[in-house]
């Protein structure tokens, strides 16, 4: 039943390769533009879920961690173009972005996670405002005017640069869900689940709760930062108020909650569904309306379907076979008794 991690990884790499090849075959680069955003949300949702879904701690500052990654890329880009030496490859930028966000996540967690959960949530919310203040006042990365990044038009083997970014984000998404799944089936994951279910009991049973929570915030923050690092190259013009926008925060919360928070499948389903829906709605209706749709879906789902789509499917599947098997057994033992 449970697939081993290397096999899991291999399967997803094959799927990704197929998706990439399929998109190439369609011959329209818009697919890559739209797909990049969806994949970015897969990473953000998965990262949010590692802390939110597994440990039960709500992070409202996804935008802040994402923007930290993006702005660390901008800072490095400025540093390099102004001193005119080596151009840094994007995977390295992603690692740096992940490092910065991971460190900030650790620091935030250390200051607030020793207290009740709500304080962490509030602190993350305020973090976005403060980091935005810092960036607005930091002229080196463009301040409130924003920063331009000139990306190369083409990249050697695959052509248009957007395809390269898409590929990178796809690899990151696969890495993200593999990490999430790995955590889920490890000691770490069981520790996280014990925190989510009853932190006091977990503490009493000897689970090092603070350390586990710090691991979760660091991993989650780092993944968000890595998702943000290539963003300036994607968008070309980075501006604080949109990078720190509430839509990243609400999307990365809505996607896991709508998909289902208890396993890696949930954020993936949520992000793919909601992300594609948004891409379609942005083109056909308007971007403000599609955010409204996400907000309403979020509220409806948390009220009506607490375990998201995965939970709905799960209860549906669980009920049916049991009834069926039970019926068959009764039928076998007492023929003709069951209508």
């Amino acid at each position: 039943m449970t697939v081993r991690t290397p096999v899991f990884l291999l399967v997803w790499l094959v799927i990704s390769a197929a998706v990439f090849a399929g998109s190439l075959a369609l011959g329209n680069d818009y697919i890559f533009f739209a797909g990049y955003v969806v994949l970015q949300y897969v990473v953000l949702g998965t990262a949010w879920n590692i802390l939110g879904g597994y440990c039960g701690y709500v992070n409202f500052g996804s935008a802040a961690f994402f923007a930290l990654g993006a702005y660390s890329s901008v800072a490095i880009y400025k540093l390099i173009t102004e001193n005119d030496f080596y151009r840094m490859p994007i995977p390295v930028l992603m690692l740096i972005g992940g490092l910065v966000s991971g460190v900030v996540g650790f620091g935030m967690g250390y200051l607030t996670l020793r207290l009740r959960g709500a304080f962490f949530a509030i602190a993350t919310l305020a973090l976005a405002v403060v980091l935005q203040t810092l960036v607005v006042n930091w002229d080196f990365v463009g301040g409130s005017r924003g920063a331009y990044i000139i990306r190369p038009e083409q990249i050697e083997p695959i052509g248009n640069y957007i395809r390269y970014l898409f590929l990178l984000m796809m690899v990151l998404a696969v890495a993200g869900i593999t990490i999430a799944r790995l955590i889920e089936h490890s000691r770490l994951g069981y520790g996280f689940a014990s925190i989510r279910d009853d932190e006091l009991a977990a503490e009493a049973a000897g689970v090092p709760t603070l350390r586990l929570k710090l691991i979760a915030t660091t991993i989650s923050g780092a993944l968000m930062g890595m998702a943000g690092a290539p963003f300036p190259y994607y968008i070309g013009y980075l501006q604080p108020s949109s990078t720190f926008g509430l839509d990243y925060a609400v999307n990365s919360i809505a996607m896991p909650l709508i998909g289902g928070t208890t396993s890696w499948v949930g954020p993936l389903i949520g992000a793919l569904l909601l992300g594609s829906l948004q891409q379609i709605a942005t083109v056909t209706i308007s971007s403000a309306v599609n955010l409204l749709i996400v907000g309403c879906l979020l509220v409806i789902f948390v009220i009506i379907a607490p375990n998201g789509i995965v939970g709905l499917v799960h209860t549906y599947l669980q009920r049916k076979p049991e009834d069926f098997v039970g019926r068959r057994r009764v039928e076998a033992e007492m023929p003709g008794r069951v209508p």
Binding site: A121, L125, A126, V129, L246, A249, V250, V302
Partner: protein, 291 residues
């Protein structure tokens, strides 16, 4: 920077006045988060809603924003009670308030903001009243009425709330529901009903705070976000659920913010409250006048 006594005194005084306004903004959260333990991060959204209602009535009928907001308070109370009912049935009863309850309020915040953007756009809106623009001049002091009036009304509101909480039966029941629900039930009081009333009152204060906000500064839908950090910083710094603590903390943060924006530039002011929040959480989580 040349140090000037003139600037300093003016900054401190306007900080105290702005602090009075912050106290009104925070009093609702002190009730819901401080006493009832409901992390209502959508509170600023209701404040902005209050601002827009004051704006619409003012723009169309020319009625004073504060009067409008007082008239609208019952409607906000009903809205608040309704939201608490949904929150109770969907989350508190099932014991899911920590994750899904928070997401619920976040969703409300987001929906309100986006709806306002869709209807009114992102233009700044403002109100007109006789006292906006007028000011008192003392020796070296400038006291603009547009800040003084909200401050005074806000202090009145908080005094009334404090009297209500300590002197009336319902008020004391609200204080009690935070401590021991079972004991309250033994006194033949329904804790859910008490919480519903308290949450209704907490949202009702948002109507008044919204009117103050639009008197003090022009408002656009996302202004509320700046207030989230500030509100919770004040609430935590003051000591959860303590109204006198809220007033002191609000004035403290008001003064520090005002000094920061006078001497370093207004774009740095939002960072102040966050610094206070982290510092309080790290050093004294119980706050200034914590129980």
């Amino acid at each position: 920077m040349i140090f000037s006594l003139d600037l300093l005194i003016n900054a401190v005084v306007s900080g105290i006045l702005i602090g009075g306004f912050y106290a009104a903004v925070t009093s609702g959260v002190s009730l819901s988060f401080g006493i009832l333990d409901i992390v209502n991060i959508a509170h600023p959204a209701f404040i902005i809603l209050g601002s827009y209602i004051a704006y619409i009535v003012n723009a169309n009928l020319g009625i004073d924003p504060i009067l409008t907001s007082i008239a609208v308070m019952p409607a906000f109370y009903v809205l608040g009670s309704g939201i608490y009912q949904v929150y109770y049935v969907s989350f508190e009863k099932r014991g899911q308030e920590s994750l899904r309850g928070l997401a619920f309020f976040f969703g409300l915040l987001f929906i309100t903001e986006v709806t306002l953007v869709l209807y009114f756009g992102v233009d700044y809106r403002y109100v007109e009243a006789s006292y906006i623009g007028a000011a008192w001049h003392f020796a070296m002091l400038d006291i603009p009425f547009r800040i003084l009036v909200p401050c005074l009304v806000s202090l009145l509101l908080i005094a009334a709330l404090q009297i209500f909480l300590t002197r009336t039966f319902v008020g004391r029941a609200i204080m009690a529901v935070a401590q021991d629900q079972l004991a309250l039930r033994l006194m033949a009081v329904d804790p859910i009903k008490i919480k519903r009333i308290a949450f209704g009152i907490s949202i009702a204060t948002a109507s008044l705070a919204g009117a103050f906000l639009i008197i003090i500064q022009p408002v656009e839908p996302s202004v509320g976000r700046e207030y989230i950090g500030r509100i919770f910083a004040i609430c935590v710094l003051g000591g959860m659920g303590s109204l006198p603590g809220t007033v002191i903390a609000a004035m403290l943060i008001g003064i520090v913010e005002s000094l920061t924006s006078t001497f370093y530039g207004p774009s740095w002011a939002p960072a102040v409250s966050f610094g206070f929040l982290l510092l309080t959480l790290a050093v004294r989580p119980a706050g200034l006048l914590g129980r």
